[in-house]
Symmetry: C2
Subunit: 336 residues, 2 copies
Amino acid sequence: MVTARDVARLAGVSQATVSRVLHDHDSVSEDTRARVLLVLAETGYQPNVAARAMRTNRTDTIGLIVDDVTNPFYPELIKALTKELDRAELRMILWNSAGPGESAALQAIDQRLIDGLLFTTATARSAPLASAIRRGAPVVLVNRGVPGLPCDQVDSDNADGAARVAAYFAAAGHRRVGLVGGPESASTARDRMAGYRRGCAEYGLELAEDCVANGDFTHDGGQSAMHTILERTGRNHPTAVFCTNDFSAFGALDAIRTHGLAVPEQVWVSGYDDIAMAAWGAFSLSTVRQQLSDMAQIAVTLLRERIGSPDRALVHHRFRNELVARRTTAHVEPPA
Amino acid sequence: MVTARDVARLAGVSQATVSRVLHDHDSVSEDTRARVLLVLAETGYQPNVAARAMRTNRTDTIGLIVDDVTNPFYPELIKALTKELDRAELRMILWNSAGPGESAALQAIDQRLIDGLLFTTATARSAPLASAIRRGAPVVLVNRGVPGLPCDQVDSDNADGAARVAAYFAAAGHRRVGLVGGPESASTARDRMAGYRRGCAEYGLELAEDCVANGDFTHDGGQSAMHTILERTGRNHPTAVFCTNDFSAFGALDAIRTHGLAVPEQVWVSGYDDIAMAAWGAFSLSTVRQQLSDMAQIAVTLLRERIGSPDRALVHHRFRNELVARRTTAHVEPPA
């Protein structure tokens, strides 16, 4: 790696002279300046970003906090956010919120290693998030919002999307339905569960407590929750089940098959998110689509604005979600 | 965000005094030192990492280059590498090799934003990789190796793993077999294809050219390649097909189902990698397992050693892979 010292030696000048050329000071003769610029070009020397960061107080690097990357929803969100950050010529540091990730991200803010943070898995209990907001660090919540938190937020109307699944089940004549829930710590899971319950009540669907079990947004969690419901209810099983995300719906489908039941003839299944795998032939899962690329675009825009104008008014942008019907529900067109 | 200037103001001292306290200089009275330390504690001030990076020439940050994060193999590799980097108290910056990722990573090396690079998708044609090696930047290739490249490499014996799939098919009495290949640019794909062809020749299996089509390691690519093979061969289809990764095998399974053929009764299918989804009931895919956590551990260790000792001898660590038989092949135990 070429250092400023190497450049100085090759050009036959002092390091201070190299620095003056790099910073466009006048106090260097044209002859010396030309010699230094030639060596800079030949060696491909790049000024130390740390030195630049000290001058500008900007690193052009954004921290991104995600939950389990092996849940395919997050790679799709990462891909959408990466595309927007690339377009804005910003680098990304990725942290996992499991383990020491959140604290490390906060430390990076304090140490000015990054200019701002995108949280995809915010919870009201996250101490690092609360601390970042208290210190006025630029933070945007994307995907999971936290009501009342004083920071920019981009999410979608999860309660409304889930209520529309209930309306769809009711319109098709189902009476006894089920629910594979998600982790209570996630606002997305809570909103989807509440919206579905509200929709069931509104459209006259019976959601008995033996037809409800919580997964944890993973395949295995969904499989185990669905297994519990089918064990409990036997021949009196629900005829349509809403799973709070696609990944747990894939698990629920495996459990239903293990119990010898046919989808959609005996049980309808809907997921949430419309990750790419939901469209695969092996699943053909009916689900509720979140507009990830639009959400990513707004989130990156808001973060850049917040970094530039720390005192700007707060923005909460909420997208509407759309029902996508496939072969796990017998009516392949959702009701209008 | 609290700056050194704020601390100086609150403690009623100069910034130079704050700096002397932070660097443990003797030339500060006990009384002043105590006052500054109190303000530092109260404000949660953290010294600027950029300043530290200039002093130590280390950022404790590692760059990680991956291919498409929406191929679930990479999230599993990222998770394994993250665990090892967390353990070593190193931060990670993630770049996507699609788009400007590789060049941005190289620039980050030149600008001393990161201490070293982990490449998971190295190709001999990658200009940034060649450039990084030429400049002596600490680089470790993990997952995909490039023969002859002068840098540390951690991979697994992909040719041997694929040859064992051929041996398994032959032992079960198959005669006419197929191959869903991967991208020629990836050493993993080339090695698996070559190993499988060698195994077919060695064990007397017929691999006709109409039974070979290339995917691109994606679900849709595998589905389309398998569709091509079944269209071409009609009733004379291969009875066992090796797919060069699990993700394309999932696509091949969808194509086989679309053609009305039963797995494993009419066609056996094997993938490669043993990603978590391969074990799901919906797939129950026979495959070849790579030891990702062991590979990640060795890769991070080698990179740390390389950063500490740039002139250390090169290491190429190659793991052996293991066949995992599931329900897409009728013999659920692989041959000894």
